[in-house]
Symmetry: C2
Subunit: 436 residues, 2 copies
């Protein structure tokens, strides 16, 4: 049996990789993009250029939508010459764009209201970057009815790594919620990597040696490791991950959090720093440029004159900053995930092998999840001890006049935990600050 034809819209960095991967796998992919140049490029890579949205959708039993934002999705699906009206009966539609869960749900409702309940609709945001998109090894978080998932699963599997297709329970919106709570961590850790390395530079520490120490410590994050080279080289143009991308994702988080009236102090703090950087003109460049919000020069210019003992002492402050902040970030993300009825075990598995990973999350995430609503737990360090470590780093940064946006936000959360009487409990109890 020959492989089915596939319609595809959105041939940007990610979409181009996904669509051309499907071409390589032997599918006839009919691609459309609002930029004719992108369609030409797709044609050159073996794709079939569609002359219009309608053309890309007509007679295609399977369709992938990978445009950049909810307003764009709304336009291509339901606008004039839109995809929804053009798809054949019983087609399968994969929405891979990152959108708010409430928006994915509104798409399902609108399909019904325009008489297209026959379409098998899947809410399936992706993660992993352009390289993994082109290799067909993305992480995909797919939520839909069982019937829709059954129809679309082969296609989701084509685009994802064998172990990274997550069928998220909860139907339409559940995939988007899963991606969103993952991005809480990604959004915090991207800034956290810059904050740690900027603070290290203020302390007079060697950038590369600090980075090596972070990598092999409990303070490690996937984002730190991933962004490090670009941060050191200040190779920000054209930007492998433009600031505007994480800013869009963080905006979905804080907007959804506001709709749920749920506190996200760390993610919201990161957002404000991103918005300030946007105002300073950093929008189009790589988000590893955030290090300049903490240190005025390239961090590799710092040449350490410290003794081994002084270096060890200063380095410990950086590690404590990251480690304790990452713990509070894990608590914020997990509590928000729980509030949204996200499957926590699946969330844990997904994060541990994705861009939102941190050693703190991996080590203490399950304990945070188990500790929700329970009494004292078995964590060996107390809230008091963790806040005391972070406090020392924050005070040193203040003495150096170094901003420490996330560190201060995390410390205030820990102080609130202490005010609530959690000081002597295990440090993972900090999650209770976010709980009723």
């Amino acid at each position: 049996m020959s492989k089915p034809s596939i319609g595809f819209v959105g041939l940007g960095a990610m979409g181009f990789g996904m669509a051309t991967h499907l071409v390589k796998e032997g599918y006839a992919v009919h691609g459309f993009d609002v930029f004719p140049a992108s369609v030409e490029r797709f044609k050159a890579a073996g794709g079939i250029p569609a002359s219009s949205l309608q053309d890309s959708a007509k007679e295609k039993d399977f369709y992938v939508c990978m445009v950049a934002s909810a307003p764009q999705v709304q336009s291509v699906l339901f606008g004039d010459d839109g995809i929804a009206a053009a798809l054949p009966k019983n087609a399968t539609l994969l929405l891979c764009s990152t959108v708010p869960a409430s928006y994915a749900q509104s798409v399902a409702a609108e399909l019904i209201s325009i008489g297209r309940s026959d379409i098998a609709f899947i809410d399936a945001p992706v993660s992993g970057g352009a390289l993994r998109a082109a290799a067909g090894t993305l992480s995909i978080m797919a939520g839909a009815s069982d019937e829709a998932l059954q129809k679309g699963r082969f296609l989701l599997q084509e685009m994802s790594d064998a172990n990274k297709l997550y069928l998220v329970p909860g139907g339409i919106g559940a995939g988007s919620n899963m991606k969103m709570v993952h991005q809480v961590l990604a959004g915090i850790h991207i800034l956290g990597a810059s904050e740690a390395q900027g603070f290290a530079a203020r302390l007079g520490l060697d950038a590369v040696k600090t980075a090596e120490a972070i990598k092999s410590s409990p303070a490690w994050t996937w984002m730190h490791e991933n962004r490090l080279q670009r941060m050191l080289e200040e190779d920000w143009h054209p930007g492998a991950s433009a600031l505007t991308i994480i800013l869009k994702d963080v905006g979905i988080i804080t907007t959804s959090a506001r709709q749920s009236q749920f506190p996200t102090p760390l993610c919201s703090t990161a957002e404000q720093v991103y918005l300030s950087a946007l105002l300073q003109g950093y929008g189009a460049v790589d988000d590893s440029s955030m290090v300049r919000q903490y240190f005025a020069e390239p961090i590799t210019k710092v040449s350490s004159t410290k003794s081994d003992e002084e270096t060890a002492e200063a380095l410990q402050l950086v590690l404590d900053l990251m480690e304790v902040t990452n713990l509070v970030a894990a608590a914020e993300a997990i509590s928000f995930a729980r509030y949204l009825n996200v499957d926590l075990k699946q969330f844990y598995t997904l994060v541990s092998d994705a861009a939102g990973a941190s050693r703190q999350f991996m080590k203490k995430g399950l304990e945070i999840m188990e500790g929700l609503g329970q009494g004292a737990n078995g964590d060996s360090e107390t809230v008091d001890a963790a806040s005391s470590r972070l406090e020392k780093a924050v005070q040193k940064a203040r003495d150096l006049h170094c901003p420490l946006n996330l560190g201060n936000a995390a410390l205030n959360v820990l102080f609130m935990a202490k005010r609530s009487g959690l000081g002597a409990e295990g440090s993972t109890s900090v999650v209770k600050v976010f709980e009723p």
Copy 2:
């Protein structure tokens, strides 16, 4: 009886005003400063130049110390050729510098340990700016033993307004604590004025009309009114209130809060923005320049094209932002004051007529104080309603890509209050987030 000779150290903007005012009142003031030019200027204004610290203190029964910071105080009092050793027996020493309470207490202890328990020491920080210093109408917050206050009161009264000499109960440190909790509000409102006017500019509102509306609304703050002209003119040099001044005060607050492990999310947020601005080179210029952290051009360049209805709607967002943020700021300051055993009624009286004043504090401060530890209160607006107003402003700012550091921090505090089950209570109940 002739007026006594007075020793004085620290002839900067404030100190020069205070010292020359005492000269005008007929005192023989022996002034010293580390900058010879300042001493010359003091001489030209009728003061008696002291050739050394020791010279300024020898045989002076009354001494005023007005240097800039605790390390400077330490040096002039206890360093070589220091004041403490040079003062005559039973002298009265007024420490008017803004320092941490714990430092003021350490001065008292050190006087005893060097055998100078005979000195009547008064912890007496001041507020009001250089003009009021020169007019002898400062606010002074004086804490000391009754005996010391009795000896020094006439001199405190000479430098302060008839109604603005606050004899703060609690002994040494109590004056500094009172000033510090006052500065919690000053530190937040300085940024708040810029945040509100920057947001208004992003909304396309006329700067002057917005300012007029704020002034006559429940969103009014003393700082907004005071900083407004310089913000509009961008007349930042040499800076009537350099950013570094409020940054120093805010640093005392957050350092003390950390020592007490007390959460100060809004003040700490303001501090991070100040530190970022410092990194961008704003340290020496007026703090009204913080408006540039929110809007890239002079706000007076905005020429509104809105209809009356659109203007009213946009303006309401700005007013809601300020009003609700100021309410949360009042709760943060009052709860911290209570934690430090500051006399709350006196704090209320002092703030209402000083630079930390806001209409929210004046209107709801007493209710916040009364509501501490109590159940539902009589406030007409609920936490739910207040957070809903702020949420709308924050969302609009996000849509416009405008940072809203304080607004977001305040909203997260309100969301935490809601998570704690306070949503249906009066909005002043938000203070309970800071309480055990």
